[in-house]
């Protein structure tokens, strides 16, 4: 499963994207964020306040309880500041 990061989530983790293989118990976006937070200091820092981090699956905004089954690309990023 491809995971992509943007803005300070990307900077904290130190890479723009990666392939991850979470265990089957990781079913939702929130589960995935929680699992990633345990993969090292840089991940713990990026997800230290999980309520702030937003997510998209296959380039569409999703909520934390959205299942990740079948997702080709999951993105994590801070609240958007475009416009």
């Amino acid at each position: 499963m491809k995971v992509v990061y943007f803005a300070w989530v990307r900077e904290r983790i130190g890479k723009p994207e990666e392939e991850v293989s979470p265990p089957e118990s990781v079913r939702t976006v929130a589960d995935l964020a929680g699992w990633l937070a345990q993969q090292g200091e840089e991940y713990a820092y990026a997800f230290e306040n999980p309520a702030v981090v937003r997510a998209a699956i296959n380039r569409k905004h999703v909520k934390p309880d959205t299942p990740i089954a079948g997702a080709a690309e999951i993105a994590f990023f801070p609240p958007m500041t475009g416009g």
Binding site: R59, A75, M80, T81, G82, G83
Partner: protein, 155 residues
């Protein structure tokens, strides 16, 4: 999908507002109102050397396209243009352009405001400050006021 001409572009280059307005209105005699919104990079009292705009390629186009189609379904529009720049933008330079055309002014105004409220809160762009002293500044924080502005559209 509506039949309204909708043009969404994500680009590093500046844009030409007059050309975008002409794209919607020129050669037509049924357009009564054209509203443009241009968002520009501010120097923040001289502190800022530039804003760096990061975006999510692919999703940015798709997401703005979705909301432009929603605006076209919600108001009687004759055309929509939405352009958002990425990369480094200096103070005084334009960042974002929204153009709406309609037979009547209320629709053109409301749709333009809706699109801008959307772009501020849902389009996958992030601004990072660069200071005049050469240091990288902070990522711009999202504003509660922008979320509130979005909520008035009932989405």
């Amino acid at each position: 999908m509506s039949n309204v001409p909708v043009s969404v572009r994500i680009q590093a280059e500046p844009f030409d507002t007059a050309a975008e307005v002409a794209r919607l209105a020129e050669g037509r005699t049924d357009v009564g109102a054209v509203v443009t919104f241009t968002g520009l990079c501010r120097a923040e009292g001289g502190r800022l050397a530039a804003l760096e705009l990061e975006h999510y390629p692919g999703m940015a186009e798709e997401e703005i396209g979705r909301v432009a189609q929603e605006a076209a379904a919600r108001w009687p529009l004759q055309g929509v243009v939405a352009i958002h720049r990425h990369g480094r933008v200096a103070p005084g330079e334009p960042i974002v352009l929204v153009v709406t055309a309609s037979a009547h002014r209320a629709a053109a105004f409301e749709a333009a405001e809706f699109l801008m409220d959307y772009l501020k809160t849902r389009a996958p762009f992030w601004k990072k400050e660069h200071h005049v002293d050469g240091t990288a500044g902070d990522w711009v924080e999202a504003k509660d006021a922008d979320d509130k502005a979005m909520e008035r559209w009932g989405r």
